[in-house]
Symmetry: C2
Subunit: 185 residues, 2 copies
């Protein structure tokens, strides 16, 4: 397990819009989980985590509750929280749902997109193909994500985008985890 040396920035940079502590913590924790630095099934010890992040338990607990709602952590009664397991079946479920959402996004985007949007998407698409051809996986995925996000934006359906993003966090996590275990061997 990684050591989590990075404490949160004590003071916000100038021009920073009022970021709440638990929200900063939230993003940080989410990244740690999605990128696999906090491995599945890891028990989240509140005292330790709070210490590592340089905050007290209260905002940490609030962030954990939020993550629990997103499904990235599981709450165990009287035993705190642990990073959600990532079973193969679960990932398949997630992709199935994302597929349905993408289908809807495609429909809506077709109906709503402006000419400029379409041009942009097409450009991204070719860019993606280029990365694919070169075997540049990282940029390929980045492009792919960009296309999906652009599409979601074109749908004009913020709810759809929100739900998709939530599931996408899990999907990204699955990819990270897969990469990690591949590199490890």
């Amino acid at each position: 397990m990684t050591t989590l040396t990075t404490a949160l920035p004590a003071a916000a940079a100038p021009g920073t819009e009022q970021r709440l502590l638990h929200e900063t913590v939230l993003e940080r924790l989410r990244d740690l989980i999605v990128q696999g630095e906090l491995a599945p099934d890891t028990k989240l010890n509140e005292r330790v985590l709070a210490g590592q992040l340089g905050i007290s338990r209260t905002p940490l607990r609030e962030a954990i509750k939020y993550l629990a709602s997103e499904g990235l952590v599981e709450l165990l009664p009287n035993r705190g929280a642990r990073v959600a397991a990532l079973k193969r079946d679960k990932v398949k479920e997630i992709f199935a749902v994302m597929g349905a959402l993408e289908a809807l996004a495609g429909e809506l985007a077709c109906a709503n997109a402006s000419e400029a949007d379409i041009v942009e998407i097409r450009a991204l698409h070719y860019e993606m193909l280029a990365y694919h051809a070169r075997g540049d996986l990282a940029n390929y995925f980045r492009c792919n994500q960009a296309i999906h996000m652009k599409l979601l934006e074109c749908t004009g359906n913020a709810t759809l985008a929100d739900v998709y993003r939530g599931l996408n966090a899990h999907a990204r996590r699955a990819r990270y985890i897969a990469n990690l275990s591949r590199e490890r061997w």
Copy 2:
């Protein structure tokens, strides 16, 4: 606005599985919001709410964060939280997404459902039609929901069910609110 007289039960009934306080609060708050007893745009004063529920602010805040993730409340930086507004467009968005999910659920259910499941669903369907014919809206909706839940169960896709339930809370809220404002006039 209703007065929220009901405090939480002090002691759990026998046979109760270890319910955490913030979870009890969570369900209660969610119900209050969904059923319209906490109107849209209502500011959630933590001290007052905590007092009415007979708890301290800490578990209340945790519940609020969870609800924020579900989209039922909005967090205002340094200004607490308020019940999410329920704009017409938002409701349309939600129904669009639910539609897509139902389509997927239908497909999967067809593939996975046992004979018994199908019989059950058909029975529920006719029951629903009966209520519809009698104009018994309440039972009609109850039946309708039961069918959807049964379908989701048949899909064997727990993620799909979770996402659907989250959106369904919003949909139910929309119906409650609509009914409220109709009765009011």
